[in-house]
């Protein structure tokens, strides 16, 4: 495969927050959003048409009511007076039938519409979720979790409102308008022309509304995302907020963002609050115009008074559903603005790309080779300049060196959290970029310092290493890293809920649990990135023993500040500014009296 040159950069939060887009961008963004909407709706065209048909039937049934009343009074009543009740029975029967049919179809429509809406939402939820999981860490680091959460919650809400509120009215409204216009043309085509003229200002008003509301809805989405980001971050960091007395500041900041959101909502209400009465006004002015024009013709004697009444009633009725149409259009604007954000997230390309034609890696041995690897974060300085390194299968390598020496970077390249800017990282001779994600994760597992626990039981958290593991295997893994006793001391043992962010589990215990995860995953290559830092010495002693079993027949890269952990390594690499300064067995390096020897000495002093 090709070496990634000119790597893609993820969109950062600032670009994502922009609302004042230039014409071209605005168009492109809107097109992307509508395209997504189309993609979602197209496969459901049949269901949508069905729902539409139900609305048509129920509307027809509703409209038939007044006609039946008319028929009853005009024909059934005289017939009854003649002594013939059949007509009345027939009309009454049809009316009951229409009521039942109309009611059933209206109800069925609600069900059908919900089914379409919910299936669209489910698909979109899944798509966004899957896509965020696929996106690289680089993206997540700049986009912030709050923003991802806002995309997946409040932005999707807006789409749901489109289905909930707007869609119901639109079909029946349009139908009524078309029918009414048809009837009007039939009665008096000249007055029909007045109606057509009235559509011009209505169209202009709608254009105005579209432009203004588009901008406002964008602002609303951005404001809502900011509010969510602030909320999520404050809740996540609540301990620090309280300990450093930031309550008032955060309150003020949140209040300010809340005001921005309120302002955006107010602007939307403002625009919409002028659009809707504007449509009504145009309708009413048209009625007045039709009255003046028709009245003049009545005076002229070219129009019948009765026809004028009918004309005016039709004109008025034509504009009655226009408010509902306006509401639908408003909901559409809101949904499209939200979809702009969602589709933006979906358009984000992972900087770490899955190979299109992966090389299978059925039984990885775990040999790692870095060839001429160069790496820098983003546009930042080069962290690893042209590194060459081979780690034979089964070897345990410890990386030591000061912060910023490139240890974690090397680990992230081997696990393919990032791709090298130049050069190649090979696993068993295969470029990691040519290995499928599934194969790579099966072969290479990393345990980091953040031992994140998900809500759920201890068992589920350990089983994250291998979801199909049996209970016995989970326990065996826990035993191997020495956390079994702790787990059984919990109120419900392995079934104990770890609560939010592992509230009740100390960080040392959490690290042990993530070791158990790794043990269960049983990869060919294990990377431990500062994974023992929170352990106390007895804990470390336990892990040490477990580690020896854990690392026995696999390749391991250990990054640790505790040189005691390093002692079990076959080989030590001392890194400095991305270069290997020393390379050898721990004992040899100590004997050689270089950098590592000095570190060892300092370490011994520190633990004495």
């Amino acid at each position: 495969m090709t070496a990634a040159t000119g790597r893609l950069r993820p969109t950062d939060a600032r670009a994502d927050d922009a609302t004042d887009l230039d014409r071209g961008t605005s168009r492109a963004v809107r097109r992307r959003s509508l395209h997504l909407l189309g993609q979602l709706l197209r496969p459901r065209a049949g269901a949508l048409a069905g729902a539409g048909a139900l609305v048509v039937i129920s509307t027809l049934a509703q409209v038939s009511g007044p006609l039946l009343v008319q028929a009853a009074i005009d024909t059934a009543l005289p017939a009854l007076r003649e002594g013939d009740p059949t007509r009345l029975v027939v009309v009454g029967g049809i009316y009951v039938l229409a009521a039942v049919l109309g009611g059933l179809c209206a109800g069925a429509y609600v069900r059908a519409a919900a089914r379409v809406a919910q299936s669209v939402l489910l698909e979109l939820r899944r798509r966004v979720f899957r896509h965020t999981q696929r996106l690289s860490l680089e993206f997540h680091e700049s986009y912030t979790s709050g923003r991802v959460i806002s995309r997946q919650t409040s932005d999707l809400e807006a789409l749901r409102e489109l289905f909930d509120g707007g869609l119901t009215g639109v079909v029946s409204s349009l139908m009524l308008m078309v029918f009414t216009a048809g009837a009007l043309f039939y009665v008096d085509w000249r007055s029909g022309l007045v109606l057509l003229v009235a559509l011009v200002p209505a169209w202009l008003l709608t254009r105005w509304f579209q432009r203004r509301s588009q901008q406002s809805y964008r602002e609303q989405r951005t404001a809502s995302a900011r509010l969510i980001v602030k909320f999520v971050e404050t809740m996540t960091g609540m301990r620090a907020v309280q300990a450093f007395r930031r309550e008032a500041t955060d309150d003020a900041e949140y209040g300010r963002l809340g005001e921005q959101y309120r302002d955006a909502n107010l602007r939307i209400f403002g625009v919409n609050g002028r659009y809707q009465p504007g449509l009504v006004l145009i309708g009413n002015l048209t009625v007045a115009a039709a009255l003046a024009y028709g009245g003049w013709r009545v005076v002229e004697g070219t129009l019948d008074v009765g026809a004028l009444v009918a004309v005016l009633l039709y004109v008025k009725r034509f504009f009655q559903p226009i408010q509902q149409l306006g509401m639908f259009y408003n909901a559409l604007q809101s949904a499209v603005a939200a979809l702009e954000k969602v589709s933006g997230l979906l358009a984000e390309e992972p900087t770490v790309v899955e190979p299109s034609d992966p090389t299978p890696l059925p039984s990885p041995r775990g040999e790692i080779r870095l060839q001429d690897v160069t790496f820098g974060y983003g546009d930042g300085p080069v962290v690893l300049p042209r590194l060459d390194l081979t780690i034979p299968a089964g070897q345990t390598v410890a990386l030591v060196g000061s912060t910023g020496a490139g240890k974690s970077t090397l680990a992230k390249l081997v696990t393919r959290f990032y791709d090298a800017s130049a050069g190649r990282v090979l696993l068993d001779g295969v470029d990691v970029r040519d290995v499928s994600g599934t194969d790579l994760r099966r072969a290479v597992v990393m345990v980091t310092q953040e031992a994140y626990l998900f809500s759920g039981s201890v068992r589920e958290n350990i089983a994250l290493g291998r979801p199909d593991a049996t209970d016995a295997e989970v326990e065996a893994a826990a035993r191997a890293v020495g956390v079994h006793e702790f787990v059984t001391s919990l109120p419900e043992g392995y079934d104990t809920d770890v609560n939010k962010r592992g509230g009740r589990v100390s960080s040392g215990q959490r690290q042990l649990l993530s070791f158990a995860r790794a043990f269960l995953a049983d990869p060919a290559v294990l990377v431990l990135d500062e994974a023992t830092s929170s352990l106390d010495i007895p804990g470390e002693r336990l892990v040490q023993r477990g580690l020896q079993t854990l690392l026995a027949d696999r390749t391991a890269i250990i990054i640790a500040h505790r040189l005691s952990t390093v002692d079990i390594a076959d080989r030590v690499l001392v890194l400095e500014h991305g270069r290997v300064l020393e390379d050898g067995a721990p004992a040899d390096l100590v004997a050689a009296g270089g950098r590592y020897a000095a570190m060892q000495a300092a370490w011994r002093d520190s633990v004495a």
Binding site: L80, L88, Y95, V100, A108, Y109, R111, A114, R125, Q133, L137, H140, S142, S145, V148, T153, E157, T234, R239, A240, Q242, D251, G258, Y261, R262, G270, P277, L281, G283, N284, V287, A292, G295, V305, L308, L313, S402, T403, T415, V445, T448, Q449, A451, Y452, S455, E460, L464, E485, P491, K500, R504, R517, E530, L535, D536, P538, H561, R604, S606, V607
Partner: protein, 620 residues
């Protein structure tokens, strides 16, 4: 399976808060917030009624005007007769549009203001609630309350409430008119309203439950989303994105089913609200025509009856929609109050003692701490003195309660029994703000915010301090924490660091958190294993700097390693929930086997039997 969010909410009784209230009583709790907006809402309601009336009146007026004066004028060939009917219709039309504009303008402020006020109230309350609450409540549930639920409420206030009132008034007045003008035929129509009311009532009861389920499930879904983002490293490291997606899909599918069930209920009521009134009208039609044939009713009266009935049926159908909107809003209000009415167990005292100049003497007396009343105590009779200006290391096995003990000092947790005193004053007698100004913490897991390095470090520094002084604090504390790496960042101390500082290494984050605690210049400093992620060389440098800073500051340092212990004047050993020994590192090494076991280096492999006994101890 990875993220499976808890379906049940923490400490929620089987009946959610407020669910025993009637919908009206539940919504009435909003009254204090809504009161200032009430005049506008009422005026908006009047405008809405006016607009509905105008809309109803226009067709009638048209008919009357055209058939009366206009026809007469036309017959007389007088074009001037056109003028005033046209003007009248124009005026009515302007009035209708004007009233709609007025209604919308009147209502939009209260709606958004109430929403914003409630949102701030919720946030403010959450800021006050202690760590114990936040440990139990997942973020997604809180977020969905703050955004989705309050959004629902806003829409209800702006549209639903008015529509509900207008529809109800229209229906009631319409039926009254029918009964008054059409006599028994009106009563027949009224009889038809009985099943509608019954069905609507039963619908409300069922729908409420489903609405609650749906909103709770969407909160859980938000939890899962949150965890999937916060735990993305773990999911990626183990390649578990697919499993996460699967379990997310399961939850989303559950929500979908609930929503479909909700729609099913709504469909039933929609059917009833369409079918029953129309069927009643069919019956009325047959009866009406029959009685007209009998001569009991004029044809005009019959036509008028149906015109009025047609006006009522529209709002009846709308009632289904507005009713569910109202119930959704009610559920939102319940969920909101569930959090806001959670009493804060950790409040400022009614009559706080003033902290003068703090000497910094801390005493813990007979302190016990339990997370929940029915759980075994984490701390069980801790007595500990931290003399002013001294540094004490707290040593104990992982899970022994060291961090919990540390959280008691700035009162992030409250003791269950016993007391924590600062200069002899119980910390519960102080304002939290005053206390926390005196006591700063560097947490074991550094919590950084997605803002600049500067703001992260100066988090605990008063904003009122002059800029040069703040700047000096920033640089000196970064210096002590050996966080010089920040100057290599693209914009130095003004570089925005990623959320939770995730783009930094563990050691870098820890040093920033340490700098933050130092910059706050507290009288009492709590450092929770502050050097765990540092390499030996850095640790040594930081230790040297820290010793200078700690001189004169009362400090409690949680330590796992002898090198950290070396910062302290004395060491306290925490085991089995109490302080088992206090002394210098040397003394304790000599006389305390547990201490030796906890901090002694790995090479000196302590005797195996001791190891075993301590293991069980750890397990306890």
């Amino acid at each position: 399976m990875p993220p499976t969010a808890r379906a049940d909410r923490p400490d929620s009784p089987s009946v959610p808060a407020g669910s025993d209230l009637s919908t009206l009583a539940s919504l009435r709790r909003l009254l204090p917030t809504v009161r200032p907006a009430l005049p506008r809402l009422v005026a908006g309601l009047v405008a809405a009624l006016g607009a509905s009336l105008a809309a109803l009146a226009i067709p009638r007026v048209l008919q009357v005007l055209v058939e009366g004066p206009l026809a007469a004028g036309a017959a007389a060939g007088d074009p001037a007769a056109l003028l005033w009917p046209t003007l009248a219709v124009l005026a009515l039309g302007l009035l209708e549009a004007g009233l709609i504009l007025l209604r919308r303008t009147l209502v939009m402020y209260p709606g958004t203001r109430v929403e914003a006020a409630l949102r701030t109230t919720l946030f403010r309350h959450l800021l006050q609630l202690p760590a114990s609450f936040h440990d139990r409540w997942a973020g997604g549930q809180l977020l969905s309350r703050s955004m989705t639920d309050l959004g629902l409420l806003r829409r209800w206030l702006v549209f639903g409430l008015l529509q509900l009132v207008v529809s109800t008034i229209t229906v009631v007045v319409g039926i009254a008119v029918l009964v008054a003008t059409a006599g028994w035929l009106g009563l027949v129509y009224l009889v038809g309203a009985v099943p509608v009311v019954v069905i609507a009532y039963r619908f409300s009861r069922r729908y409420r439950v489903i609405a609650r389920t749906s909103q709770d499930q969407s909160g859980d879904l938000a939890n899962t989303v949150e965890e999937s983002v916060h735990g993305i490293r773990v999911l990626k490291a183990f390649g578990r994105g697919g499993d996460a997606l699967e379990s997310f899909t399961g939850q989303a599918e559950q929500l979908r089913r609930t929503e479909i069930r909700k729609a099913g209920n709504q469909a039933t009521v929609t059917t009833a609200l369409h079918l029953i009134p129309e069927a009643t009208l069919a019956v009325c039609l047959v009866l009406g025509v029959w009685s007209a044939a009998e001569g009991q009713l004029t044809v005009g009266a019959l036509a008028a009856f149906f015109l009025t009935a047609a006006v009522i049926n529209g709002p009846v159908v709308d009632l289904g929609m507005t009713l569910s909107m109202t119930l959704n809003a009610r559920t939102a209000v319940d969920r909101f109050f569930e959090v806001v009415e959670t009493a804060n167990p950790l409040t400022d005292p009614a009559e706080p003692r003033e902290l003068g100049t703090v000497r910094g003497e801390v005493t813990l007396r007979d302190v016990t701490f339990r997370h929940e009343a029915d759980e075994p105590p984490v701390l069980d009779g801790v007595d500990l003195d931290l003399p002013a200006g001294t540094t004490t290391a707290l040593v104990g096995l992982t899970g022994s309660g060291k961090s919990t003990l540390a959280m008691l000092l700035p009162r992030l947790h409250d003791v269950t029994t016993g007391s924590v005193r600062l200069d002899g004053v119980d910390v519960r007698d102080l304002r939290r703000h005053d206390l926390r100004r005196a006591v700063a913490v560097a947490f074991e897991e550094p919590t950084l915010f997605s803002t600049t390095v500067r703001e992260n470090v100066l988090l605990g520094v008063d904003d009122s301090l002059p800029a040069p002084e703040r700047e000096r604090l920033l640089h000196s504390s970064l210096d002590v924490a050996r966080a010089g790496f920040v100057h290599d960042l693209p914009q130095g101390v003004d570089t925005r660091i990623g959320e939770e500082g995730l783009s930094l290494s563990g050691g870098q984050r820890q040093r920033l958190a340490l700098a933050r605690a130092i910059a706050a210049r507290p009288r009492v400093l709590v450092l929770d294993d502050p050097l765990s992620a540092l390499d030996v060389t850095t640790e040594e440098a930081v230790t040297r700097g820290l010793r200078e800073v700690l001189a004169g500051t009362t400090s409690l340092v949680i330590a796992h390693r002898p090198s950290t212990v070396a910062l302290a004047d004395r060491v306290a050993v925490l085991s089995d929930g109490r302080i088992s020994a206090v002394g210098t590192h040397r003394e304790l090494l000599a006389r305390d086997p547990h201490y030796r076991y906890v901090v002694a280096s790995l090479e000196e492999d302590w005797v195996a039997h001791e190891h075993e006994t301590d293991l069980t101890q750890e397990a306890r």
